[in-house]
Each structure stands twice: as C-alpha cells, then as structure tokens.
C-alpha cells in the first residue's frame, strides 16, 4: 500500500471511529477516547526517536507540557482557535526538540536519557516560576460547553476528540511514511551502528536532529489542546511522570520497529488504564504499566508485533 492509500485508509478508519462514538452518544467515550488518542500521538512521536533511532527519551512530559503551556500563554494573550494552537505547540516543542538534540546528541545510551530527564526538570522549574502562565498555582482555561459552526452545534469534548483523532492519523501517516523512506533507512542505521552509518555516508547528526525535532513537534501537538480538555492546568499535571513512562511503555509493549507497535501498544495499555481508572482507581495505572512491562520483557521482548511476526515467519 502506498502512502496516499494509507492516508486515505487511516482517515476512513478515523471517520468510522467518530461515527461509532457519535452513535454511542456517551460523553465519557469522548473523554476516555481523547486520552487514548493523545497517547497514540505521544507514543508514535516517542517512537520516531526512541524506536527508529534507538535514542531513549525520558523527557516526553516536557515536550507535551511545552505544547500545553504555549496554549495557556496564547489563551491569556489572545485566544486563538485550537488548530492554530496545535501549530504553535508543534513549533515551540519542535524548537525545544531541536535544541535538546543539538545539546545532547553527542551523548549516547543512558547518558542521553538522563540528559532528557534533566531537561524536563529544568523546564518544569521555569514554568513553576513563570507567573504569567499561572506558576505553581496553575491556570484555568475555561471552554464553552458547545461550539457553534454556523447552524451546527457541537459538544466541546467531541470537538477536542475530533482534533486528537486527526492528530493521531497525521502522526501515524508520518511515522509510516518515514519508515519506508530513505530517512527510515538512515534512522535504522543510527539505531544499529552509528560509526558504520557515518562510513556509509549517512549524515548521522543531521538525521538525529530531524528525529528530535519531529518527535518533539508531535509531542507538542498532543499537548496543545490539553489545557482545554483538562480545564485547569498545573505544572505537576503537565509534567507528570505518567507521560514519560507511558510513551516509553506503549511502544515497548507494541513493538518499536514499526508504526503499528505504538498504535497497538497504546490501545492495549491505554484501554486497560482507562478501564482500571473507572473500575478500581486511577492510582492503579502505573502499577498496570509496570506489570505489563515486566510481562512483556519476559514473554515478548520485541513487543506484540515481534510476537506476531515470529509466529508467522522466520524473523531475525
């Protein structure tokens, strides 16, 4: 299937999901679905750097929060429609990603991961001390209950759901396109052996910067509508550890070498978390992540995708 065909197919699936949600007519479905879609974007974005290039980023929450806080900033300055905020969030987090890449990509392995974690702490401290966006008190972003498009009146949560659905499609199409392009080959050589990649003519530093920028930009996009979803944004929730942990765990559970991995991993883990939140407690979420990670490391080190591939054909 070529890229255009895939984009059309993905859009069709998204429309089907939307139609199903609309027919269901339950607001809770939008709330839960939004979170899962948001994690599809985040884990796909993480996978561009972590899965394709092999650089484990622990700073997902920072990129997500940059997107969210640029929305808060614009909201206070001059409210714009959310699609514009998504673009702004992408630009801000993309720049942060580029800067982080430039500063830290000479580090490898655990050292790179620690640097990304440190960056998240630094950015959180900055936001906590920035009064204009609420500082440590947090900021209220009140949205109307319904949104009017001419004669059409849409529930605000449905509107947010549609936006996140579109972002998820965009992220998946981008990831799949990269995977099958020259860029994808380059990323894979970086993951396998950077020295050999350079000697084959692969400009590794440039490719890594492309990966950190793209990955950061998608995380920022996922964060931009978040203040409108949550209504009240504080640094502790925007920079929460859950984002970093989940966006690593989801691709790991699904499989990191293909765009399908983060998608499947997010649907499995995200749904389990949503279910646990309603039936048991939201505090169980991290326990679920932990147990599933341990389980998958033992049973399927290459994720669900690896498990399926192993079953159907001889795999490396």
């Amino acid at each position: 299937m070529n890229n255009t065909m895939f984009a059309v197919a993905a859009t069709a699936v998204a429309i089907a999901v939307l139609a199903f949600a609309h027919a269901l007519g339950v607001d809770y479905f939008y709330f839960a679905g939004y979170t899962i879609l948001q994690f599809i974007v985040l884990s796909t974005a993480w996978n561009i750097l972590g899965g394709y290039c092999g650089y484990v980023n622990f700073g997902t929450a920072a990129f997500f929060a940059m997107g969210a806080y640029s929305s808060v900033f614009i909201h206070k300055l001059y409210p714009l429609p959310i699609p514009f905020l998504i673009v702004i969030g992408a630009i801000v987090s993309g720049i942060v990603g580029f800067g982080m890449g430039y500063l830290t990509l000479r580090l490898r392995g655990a050292f790179f991961s620690i640097a990304t974690l440190a960056m998240a702490v630094v950015l959180q401290t900055l936001v906590v001390n920035w009064d204009y966006v609420g500082g440590s008190r947090g900021a209220y972003v009140i949205h109307p209950e319904n949104l009017e498009f001419g004669a059409l009146s849409v529930h605000y949560i449905e509107y947010l759901f549609v936006l996140m659905l579109a972002l998820a499609v965009l992220a998946l199409v981008t990831a799949r396109t990269i995977e099958r392009s020259q860029l994808g080959y380059g990323f894979a050589t970086i993951r396998d052996d950077e020295l050999a990649a350079e000697s084959c003519g692969v400009p590794t530093l440039r490719l890594k910067l492309i990966a950190t920028t793209l990955s950061g930009a998608f995380m920022g996009m996922a964060g931009a509508p978040f203040p409108y979803y949550i209504g009240y944004l504080q640094p502790q929730s925007a920079f929460a550890l859950d984002y970093a942990v989940n966006s690593i765990a989801m691709p790991m559970i699904g499989g990191t070498t293909s765009w399908v991995g983060p998608l499947v991993g997010t649907i499995v883990l995200g749904s389990a978390q949503q279910y646990a939140t309603v039936t048991i407690s939201s505090a169980v979420n991290l326990l679920i992540v932990g147990l599933m990670l341990v389980g998958f490391v033992i049973i399927a080190p290459n994720g669900l995708i690896g498990l399926v591939q192993k079953r159907f054909r001889r795999q490396p």
Partner: protein, 243 residues
Amino acid sequence: MSALLHVDKISKHFGGFVALDGITLEVQPGERLGLIGPNGSGKSTLVNCICGTLQNESGSVQFDGRKMDGLSAHQRTHRGVARSFQLPRPFHSMTLADNLRVPMLYTVHTRTGPLHADNIDARCAELLQMVGLANKARQWPRDLTQVEMRKLELARAMAAEPKLLIADESMAGLSHSEIDDILALLIELNKAGITIILIEHIMSAVMSFSQRLAVLVSGKKIADGKPEDVVRDPEVVRAYIGQ
C-alpha cells in the same frame, strides 16, 4: 601523476599518548598499498584520521586534489573514501541487501542524483554476486559466518562506489583458503580501478597483495617502498622481531 591521497605530516594525541607523530603518506591512483606495523603502532588511528572518524590535530589530508580536514566521516565517504572495519559492523536489523542499499541511498545518491529503485536492486544483487553472497540477500547478518561477514563489510564499502578503499584487517582470524578468497576479491576490485590500502598482520597476504609497503611503528612511519626491500630493512626487522 598527482597522488590520489596525500597525507601530510598529520599528528594525533590521546592525552599524553602520541598515536600519530607527523605521518606523511602518498597513494597514487590505482595503487595497492600495504600498511603494516605492530599492535598499537597507530595503523587504525591513521585510518580513522583519513576517514574522518577522528580528526587529526596538525597536518592535513588531501584527497583527489581537495583538502578534507575538518570534514566529518560521511562527507569524506561522499568524496570517495570507503572503509571496512576491523571488526565487522553490519546493520543488524537489516537484510544483507538492505545493508548494501544504505550507501547507495546516502552516498551514490548525493553524487548522481536520485537512483531508480530497480537500479538499486540490480546493483545490490551485482555486489552480492561479486562477494559470493547472492543467495543470502534476504538473510540477516546474524546468519553469516565470520568470512561472509568480512565479505559483506567489503561489499558495503564498495556499494558507496569509492575511489579509495581502506581494508582494515579484513582477514584477521580467517583460514588460509578464506584469506585467498578475500585477496582474490581485493585484487579484482583493484583491477576495476579502485585504489586500495590494505592493513594487515598476515605477512604472506600483505606481500602477495602490495605493490608498495609502508611500516608504522609507535606513530612514526619508519619505512616506505618496495615490499621486498622494506621487509629486509634492518629497522623494520628490529621493530618486528626485536634486537
């Protein structure tokens, strides 16, 4: 005829250790040069400085009439320098064919403009044929034996269509017949017009391959000339066997 590679008084230190101490070396187009020296004499450091993996601190490296100082490894590969690694470093997650595709996509591509997918496939098959791995195109590097891994390493270097190929100990740990295999391959490549620097410990291989021999000892070049003269040079004998 002007030299293809001109290394001019390059030096490299690692802390207080002098790895290369003012090395000068010229390689003519189409030449087969053997580079020998005891362990730790700076052979691999010299290769790394020529290929851009390391940057020399003083002196300069000229290739094909242009300076290469300060260029990164991938830029030098684009100019036409290719190398194989002492320990094979294949891309583990890719099939053999895909391993060869990388230099074509990233190096040949930049010189000639976009290549057609069919041309890339054909060239991959041709290279694998040349090194005798045609029937393993769809396998992964982990399935290869040591000698096949070396051949893949050479094939991948060749996929970048280099003018100069530096083979860094491509024969270490191989049996006699396997060494002959690799030698025949290198000579064939040389006949096709590629200049080759062979770094090797196995003297029989170096002697039968090289048109010229250079010897490094403790970061200095102590001899450079016809192989049979060089191995009789008292200083070389002293460095290898001791007094």
